[in-house]
């Protein structure tokens, strides 16, 4: 599902290498945790995989047939993200001026899913993440845990092959974090998608199928 080969990226300001000749692969349906010290380059790696950052060299093949996102122009990267990648962020990033249902529906619009399918898919996911009845609520009235559930629903609604999550439970209390993590893993597995989760949490990492540690020497 995801194959990274020979990836190198220098720190833009400090002019030192963040990582060199990095290689990793995530199989279809596999959930991989990426851990490492702060500032080691985990988020940069995630951004490179999402096509939001450009590596100095290497390739990142996504999907089947594989597409090297590094070789694509900005518009094609955006199209690939819209079709094939779902995102969950530490800071939730829910659009405050759209309702919960509209927030979840955004990836469907971007992926070009037929409008007739929007409402049923959105409603089904709202039910799945435990937010039935929240469709017309504004994000400002939701708690952190509820916001992250909205973000999970949004990441899954267009049925992407790959989920990229950056500290998905970092802003939540332990109890809510546990619930949100369980929900995320359950839904990803149910959809048969692959996931790469950047985390500092040992609990989150141990819940995944495999753990990769990013060190100055590379991935271990």
């Amino acid at each position: 599902m995801l194959t990274v080969t020979g990836l190198a990226r220098r720190h833009r300001q400090a002019s030192r290498a963040l990582f060199t000749d990095l290689a990793l692969s995530v199989a279809a349906g596999e959930i991989v945790a990426l851990v490492g010290e702060s500032g080691i380059g985990k988020s940069t790696l995630l951004n490179c995989i999402a096509g939001l950052d450009t590596p100095d060299s290497g390739s990142i093949a996504i999907g089947s047939p594989a597409v090297d996102i590094v070789r694509l122009d900005e518009a094609a990267r955006a199209a690939l993200r819209a079709r094939s990648i779902g995102f969950v962020f530490q800071a939730f990033h829910v659009l405050p001026t759209l309702t919960v249902a509209q927030n979840i529906g955004v990836p469907l619009l971007l992926a070009g899913v037929l409008p007739a399918e929007h409402a049923p898919r959105t409603q089904a996911l709202l039910d799945d993440v435990g937010l039935a009845g929240f469709a017309d609520r504004w994000p400002a009235s939701l708690s952190g845990g509820e916001l992250q559930r909205v973000a999970i629903a949004r990441a899954l609604v267009h049925r992407p092959r790959l989920i990229l999550a950056d500290e998905p439970t970092g802003n939540l209390d332990p109890r809510t974090a546990g619930q949100v993590l369980a929900l995320l893993l359950e839904r990803v597995r149910e959809q048969g998608a692959s996931a790469l989760i950047v985390t500092h949490s040992r609990h989150v990492a141990e819940s995944c199928d495999r753990i990769l540690t990013l060190t100055p020497q590379g991935l271990e």
Binding site: A82, A91, P96, L98, L110
Partner: protein
């Protein structure tokens, strides 16, 4: 994508209601003004054309004398009538007469009843009674219904018509049923008019209808070549162009005012959209991460601009129509400009111009949204997602580059100012004005950094220091907040400077052109000989009398005629009476000399020292141009010739204006003497003081509309600042919450934000003033000469400008209190807890 775009637009309108409505209103105002001016002018021109059609009919061509005092000789009428290409040749004598002691002369048109029906059906009379005698051929007079209504007369009434010393007592036999509802006309048989008012051996015009198979262009060329120089041949298109030329410059000036509003609107859209982009940069970044294509991030902001512009422009069209209706009722079709008769034209909106103005409003709004859209596209997704929009302070090494754009624009503007007007419209100068505004807005970040960057190092209390640093470190936001103010104050200051320069110049000019204490006017009619003779008697209470005769010359059939003024002045010292702009040349001894107005010099390119061939007194006469004088009264040019030269050329001096100097101590007697003459002959008398007051009051009235617009522009500019500052409070919620957490109390936060508002307003006003002076100079030295052919020295009314700036600064500080209040109402704990 369309659904997403609609969601985002709706969300934008919901969350930024005040800013959006304000931008919409500014666009609406610009469109409304432009559209109303267009509607009024179109209606006035149509009305003017209709009135011309009533009087002139629809001839293929007209032969007339170039000199208003001349005529078309009768032998030429015979010659034209016998031309095989001519179907009808209708002679007309048109003159102006007074009815009894009525002061305003009326048009009396003498027609040939046999040829007129086919060409001038609107002038056909209707007899009140079908009498066998007393009809038009027997000397019957026919009045338009409007005139009958105004005079309160009916058929059968007897009128005394006066022109100078000539008089005709005639009976009204009926009316002119096809005349327009506002036309004030009298019609009689040509022979009767000729018998009473002349000319004996000529007619005013020959109106011609060609045979169906004739070639108008070929015939025109042939006949024009054979005509004596004192006559001209004009065709229908010439009349249309002449009517349009009449009001073009005035129209252009009013359109500039509409552009003022439209430009202010465009800059408000710019401020609204840039703050909207800054406020939502995290959201746009998120959408980009989720897969929104880059071009959609650009298009979304443009679409939001259009969503402001389209309803704004639509509302502007409705408002424009309402304004046109109101203005024409209040001021007439020329908005008080005095170009067309004081009729109330009918406003008829048409689809194509309305669509044009709709597009203009949308284009202004899109232009305002273009830079924010580009910035939105340029925001790096990851940085914007994590940290929001950051207006990075410019580094020192970029200063040179920052200067490049304003410098390049200044060079371009300077180049444009060297270009001449395009078909009488100073288009290049207007583009240069827009560039000056861009330079002002583009220069805001640089000036902000230069001034406040240095001041930020000063040891100041915390709120002041924070305010200074905020402005210095975020020059882009300062630019956004100040842009509306820069534009509105620049345009307001420029109009104030232009109007002040013009007023001061007119005031000084009036000093020069009104040397006598009293003036007596016969309007278009010559003064009675009886009055002129009485003035020469020793018992007349006047020390000195200067007479002048006013006529006109048509030098180009497509342009309004040039005034020909025959004056009693010293050929060797014309500067005693005329305000010359340069050297006065001594003419060759035997050659007549004329002095031309600035407009004549600008329009026809005539220069001092040149020899002109003027079509006067029935022939072409060579005259020497002795100098150029300033004339703010006649926009289409004027030529002054001394009475001495005019008479030497064979001219018949029939004065219609007098300048009078009463004998010392006999001012009262002079007033009484004149009052008797005025009552007897229906003349006008006024003191130089009264003429000066009236002239300046007309001047002030005609510019009154500009003051209202300037005030509107300033209110919009101050509101724009308030809206942007309020938006910036939300944008910097985290920063403000951090300050509060660090110990800033509400009062300190409020002071800091109000000071920020004052500093930004100060920058806006400073740049606005600089741009305003530059634009004022362009309006005074380039636009006015190109559009109106009037030149004047620049006068900067510093006191008024500084008072305006101080008032605006106070308003801006008050407006920024709203932003400060918002800051103190922020849910600080929530903001700090949330990383959004």
């Amino acid at each position: 994508m369309r659904i997403l775009a609609a969601w985002l637009i709706r969300a934008q309108f919901r969350t930024r209601r005040a800013a959006t409505l304000l931008s919409m209103l500014a666009i609406a105002l610009g469109v409304a003004l432009g559209y109303s001016i267009h509607l009024i002018n179109e209606a006035a021109l149509a009305d003017f054309a209709r009135a011309m059609k009533t009087v002139q009919g629809e001839p293929d061509a007209v032969i007339a004398a170039r000199d208003s005092a001349g005529g078309v000789p009768l032998p030429l009428l015979d010659e034209i009538s016998s031309d095989p290409a001519v179907l009808i040749a209708a002679p007309v004598i048109e003159t102006r007469v007074r009815i009894g002691s009525q002061r305003t002369p009326l048009r009396l048109i003498g027609i040939d009843v046999f040829s007129a029906p086919a060409l001038m059906p609107a002038l056909l009379p209707r007899d009140a009674e079908r009498a066998a005698t007393g009809g038009i051929l027997d000397g019957g007079l026919y009045a338009s219904p409007a005139l009958l209504g105004e005079l309160g007369l009916q058929a059968g009434a007897t009128l005394t018509l006066l022109r100078g010393d000539q008089r005709w007592v005639a009976t009204i036999r009926g009316d002119l049923p096809a005349a327009g509802r506002d036309d004030l006309l009298l019609v009689a048989d040509i022979a009767w008019v000729q018998e009473h008012f002349g000319p004996a051996d000529a007619v005013s015009e020959i109106r011609i209808r060609l045979a169906a198979d004739s070639d108008l262009a070929g015939w025109r060329e042939r006949v024009a070549a054979s005509l004596p120089p004192a006559l001209l041949l004009r065709v229908a298109e010439d009349d249309g162009e002449r009517a349009s030329n009449l009001s073009r410059a005035y129209r252009v000036n009013l359109n500039v005012l509409a552009l003022v509003a439209l430009l202010t609107g465009a800059f408000l859209v710019f401020a609204t959209q840039l703050t909207a982009v800054a406020q939502r940069s995290t959201q746009f970044a998120l959408l980009g991460v989720l897969g929104l294509p880059p071009r959609m991030r650009l298009l979304q902001v443009l679409l939001e601009g259009l969503a402001i512009g389209l309803p704004g422009a639509l509302f502007g069209l409705v408002l424009g129509y309402a304004l046109a209706m109101a203005f024409t009722r209040l001021l007439g079709g020329d908005l008080g400009g005095g170009y067309f008769a004081g009729n109330v034209p009918v406003i008829v909106p048409r689809l194509l111009p309305a669509a044009g103005f709709l597009l203009l409003g949308c284009a202004a709004s899109l232009a305002g949204a273009a830079y924010p859209a580009w910035l939105n596209l340029r925001q790096p997704l990851v940085a914007a997602l994590n940290n929001g929009f950051t207006a990075h302070p410019q580094r020192a090494r970029e200063r040179g580059r920052q200067l490049l754009l304003p410098a390049a624009l200044a060079l371009l503007a300077g180049g444009l100012l060297q270009l001449p007007a395009l078909s009488g419209v100073p288009l290049a100068a207007y583009i240069a004005i827009a560039l000056v505004l861009f330079i002002g807005v583009a220069g805001a970040p640089l000036l902000t950094q230069e001034i406040f960057g240095r001041a930020a190092g000063l040891r100041l209390p915390a709120p002041q220091r924070i305010a200074l640093q905020n402005v210095a470190q975020a020059p882009l936001m300062a630019q956004v907040a100040a842009s509306g103010l820069i534009v509105s104050f620049a345009l307001t200051a420029s109009m104030v400077i232009m109007v002040s320069s013009f007023r001061v110049a007119v005031d000084q000019w009036l000093d020069h052109v009104l040397p006598a204490p009293l003036y007596l006017r016969g309007k278009a009619s010559p003064l009675p000989q009886e009055l002129l003779t009485a003035l020469e008697r020793p018992e007349a209470p006047f020390l000195r009398v200067e007479r002048s005769a006013h006529g006109s010359l048509t030098l180009d059939p497509r342009r309004p005629p040039v005034a020909l003024l025959v004056r009693e002045l010293d050929r060797d010292d014309p500067a005693a009476r005329l305000p010359f702009t340069g050297a006065v040349l001594v003419p060759p001894a035997e050659m007549p000399v004329v002095w031309i107005s600035e407009a004549m010099h600008e329009i026809y390119g005539s220069r001092p020292g040149q020899t002109l061939r003027l079509p006067v007194l029935g022939r072409e006469v060579e005259v020497f141009v002795g100098g150029i004088w300033r004339d703010y009264a006649r926009q289409f040019g004027a030529i002054v010739i001394s009475r001495e030269d005019h008479q030497r050329l064979g001219g018949d001096f029939r004065p219609n204006d007098l300048a009078l100097w009463p004998r010392p101590g006999q001012e009262g007697a002079a007033g009484d003497w004149l009052a008797a003459q005025v009552a007897a002959h229906g003349l006008e008398v006024a003191s130089s003081g009264a003429i000066r007051r009236l002239s300046l009051s007309i001047f002030d009235k005609s510019f009154a509309v500009t003051y209202a617009l300037e005030a509107a522009a300033m209110v919009i500019g101050v509101f724009g600042l308030a809206v942007t500052l309020t938006a910036s409070v939300w944008l910097r919620a985290r920063e403000l919450a951090t300050l509060a957490a660090l110990g800033f109390d509400q009062r300190m936060l409020r002071h800091s934000l109000m000071l920020e508002g004052a500093l930004i307003a100060g920058i806006g006003l400073l740049l606005g003033l600089a741009c305003g002076i530059a634009i004022g100079a362009v309006l005074t030295h380039v636009v006015n000469p190109q559009a109106f052919h009037w030149r004047m020295p620049l006068d900067v009314p510093w006191l008024a400008l500084l008072a305006g700036a101080a008032a605006t600064l106070a308003a801006a500080i008050l407006a920024s209190r709203q932003a400060a209040r918002q800051a103190t109402r922020l849910p600080l704990a929530q903001v700090l807890a949330s990383s959004q």
